[in-house]
Amino acid sequence: MDFDFNEQQNMLKTMARDFLSKECTKARVHELDKDEKGYDPDMLAKMAELGWTGLIFPEQYGGTGADLLDLVVLMEEMGRNILPGPFFSTVALCAIPIIKYATPTQKAKYLPPIANGQAIWSLALTERSGRFEPSEIHCSANYDGKNYLINGEKWFSQYAHVADYLLVVCRTGEAKRNGDDLTVFIVKAKSRGIKMELIPTIAGDGQCRLRFTNVKVSKRDILGKVGKGWKVVDYLMQRAIVLKCAEVSGACQAVMDMTQAYAKDRVQFDKPIGAFMAIQHKLVDMLTDVEGLQYLVYYAAWLLSTGAKADMPVSVAKARANEVYQRVCIDGIKIHGAIGFTMDHDIGCYFRRVKAAEFMLGDTDLHLEKVALGIGL
């Protein structure tokens, strides 16, 4: 048993912390939250140069062949600094299933531009209900003998408005149970028949509503097999969940750090407020939650990286992340008092992202249900 990062992971962590604290300042985050594109193309280009976008790609596709745990290290730092932009949607939600399910031709075509930082991708999975069960997919793709025609709606697609490509999950048959007859399509974001609107969200994090009207897609642009789309979704979800949890874990660490510092600094009744037991014990509870979450995320990531089945640990991490992120932010704001309630203070940047993280890739109830299955209920 070993809780340590390896040398490469430690280097990556240091590099990420240096780069992000310099490039992705909170002032920049505040600007990007209000920016319509929602990201900084120069920053993305620099991250690509550092090898981050292609970190887990095989070398032949312009990557460095790192594993999921390495990406976890990076995501934790991105969460700590709340990096706005399409890194997660491109790499975690789209590149991961491409690496696993794409044909060699598709990989050669789509992966190198991602590694180079030239292509942005968005996953178009959830619909009106915003939920992550196969039964919620209604968007259809019907074969007309030559092409598939996609019709329907997708909601909460991250950074679709700046994306070059979309992964669109469609119903290609009638069976509505167990995700049978769902298929994943690679679709050019600027294809005819796609209408995009930004959904104004509290985080300003580029989530879009997409409407598809007879959008033509060739058979060649299917990812994986026809009718086996949920397998692709399940695969990407497990990994993307762990990465999202790593991001949340990093964010929680940052909130913890700033709140701890504030409790030492802020004096009332002639004492730092951290000297009062009510405040101190709240901070200790926060710390316990934050450390626990961190270990649960590492555990799930490690299991996945060994190729083991990890359904329950993944859901444990996500259910926990949802809860801890919210609780740590709320307690953090309370300890800060009125200043924590202002637009200028950094803690609000984290709090504004709580709901986006929570409802991405399965809410708490969905994952509790998976944990219940995991313990034999």
């Binding site: 901070l283 200790v284 450390e291 270990y295 490690w302 259910a319």
Partner: protein, 401 residues
């Protein structure tokens, strides 16, 4: 990063499991020192101690010269976890001897003391059963406040005073005792000494304190001019507080795996119960509310498991954990409370049935857990005291008490 146990650790887990299944023969799970109460339970417990000693497990952490087998921290982790999962009584033998008396004597006891006191502990003998007397009526969380006096008179100490919450005193052959040897000190942590007390000495009165569940674990001890040879002083006179702080380190890594084992078994009992119990025409296990509550408990247990791994790993790396043990203890208390109350929610009205009644559910295990958890959470430091430690030593916050 790697969260696998090594092969020899897994092998040990397997051996302990086999041992538990064959030796326990369906005996009840014991949560926290209950075996000290009834004579027949105590007798069984001592038989088990002996067998565990013969297996080389009882004091496996100790060096070979003291009857141990130099087991690694991870082997200890696995053994403690598994023994606790099966509720093997006798694995702690009244806690003190194995937990800290032996290890403390190895560090600051003298050669004579080691020779005399350590072997019976390692052998699982009744002469190796110890109790620990720290707390007093006015020295609970504020332990340095102890008043029990030991006055040196030639080659003897004369003891007078009172101890309380002394578990196992009614079973113990020896007592690991903290007394005040110098009252004229400016700092109350000074002037405390550690003394080995023969429980057969004249002048000791033991009063049982029966807990609200009818179980006799605690005692009150009264000392009326009890004479103790000076040779029974452990370490340096008046430095007892510092010896004690050091000796607390010995049980640090065992808290999480021990509680985790007990909690894991209880959760499994509850899950099994849900599968065989019908309510409203369907399995209790199909009730979404029950499913979610139990899933939440399972998540908390997973977190506790990780905390246990973490502290064991740190110790295996030679790091002396400070705040981690306090964090784990406070979190254990939280987890046990949530599990016990959820468990009673699940068994419903049967939660109030006496644990030995033919009508009790899950062999009374949930009721037992429910009755015991508040006591376990106070023992060895309340969660408030634990959180103070974390606040000061990890978060670097000012003392809050």
């Amino acid at each position: 990063m790697d969260f696998k146990f090594a092969e020899k650790e897994e092998k040990l887990r397997d051996e302990v499991r086999k041992f538990a299944i064959s030796e326990m023969r369906g005996k009840q799970v014991v949560s926290g020192m209950e075996e000290e109460s009834r004579d027949e339970d105590w007798e069984f417990s001592m038989q088990m101690s002996k067998k565990l000693a013969q297996k080389g497990w009882l004091t496996m952490a100790w060096p070979r010269e003291y009857g141990g087998r130099d087991a690694s921290f991870f082997e200890q982790h696995v053994y403690i976890n598994e023994a606790s999962y099966w509720g093997i009584p006798g694995s702690t033998m009244g806690v003190s001897g194995i937990g800290w008396v032996g290890p403390s004597l190895m560090i600051f006891g003298n050669e004579e003391q080691r020779k005399k006191y350590i072997p019976p502990i390692a052998a699982g003998d009744p002469d190796g059963v110890w109790c620990t007397a720290y707390s007093e009526p006015n020295a609970g969380s504020d332990f340095a406040n102890i008043q029990t006096r030991a006055i040196k008179n030639g080659d003897e100490y004369i003891l007078n005073g009172q101890k309380i919450w002394t578990s196992c005193a009614h079973r113990a052959r020896w007592c690991w005792l903290a007394v005040r040897t110098d009252p004229a000190v400016t700092k109350k942590q000074h002037g405390i000494s550690l003394i080995i007390l023969d429980m057969k000495s004249p002048g000791i009165t033991i009063n049982p304190i029966v807990n609200y569940a009818g179980i006799h674990i605690f005692n009150e001890l009264f000392f009326d001019n009890v004479r103790v040879p000076v040779a029974n002083l452990v370490g340096t006179e008046n430095r007892g507080w510092y010896h004690l702080m050091q000796s607390l380190a010995f049980e640090r890594h065992s808290i999480a795996p021990q509680f985790y084992g007990m909690a894991q078994r209880s959760l499994e009992f509850i899950v099994d119960y849900c599968k065989v119990t019908q309510y409203n025409g369907k399995q209790l296990a199909a009730d979404p509310l029950v499913r979610h509550k139990l899933a939440e408990r399972a998540i908390e247990l997973d977190m506790l498991k990780m905390f246990g791994y973490e502290i064991t790993w740190k110790m295996s790396k030679g790091v002396i954990p400070i705040y981690e043990a306090a964090r784990n203890k406070a979190y254990c208390d939280y987890v046990m409370q949530r599990l016990a109350t959820t468990g009673t929610d699940v068994i419903g009205a049967y939660a109030q049935v006496d644990i030995r009644s033919k009508w009790s559910k899950i062999k009374g295990n949930i009721t037992r857990l429910y009755m015991m958890f508040p006591g376990l959470s106070v023992a060895a430091g309340t969660d408030e005291v634990q959180k103070n430690i974390v606040g000061q030593f990890k978060l670097g916050l000012p003392r809050s008490y």
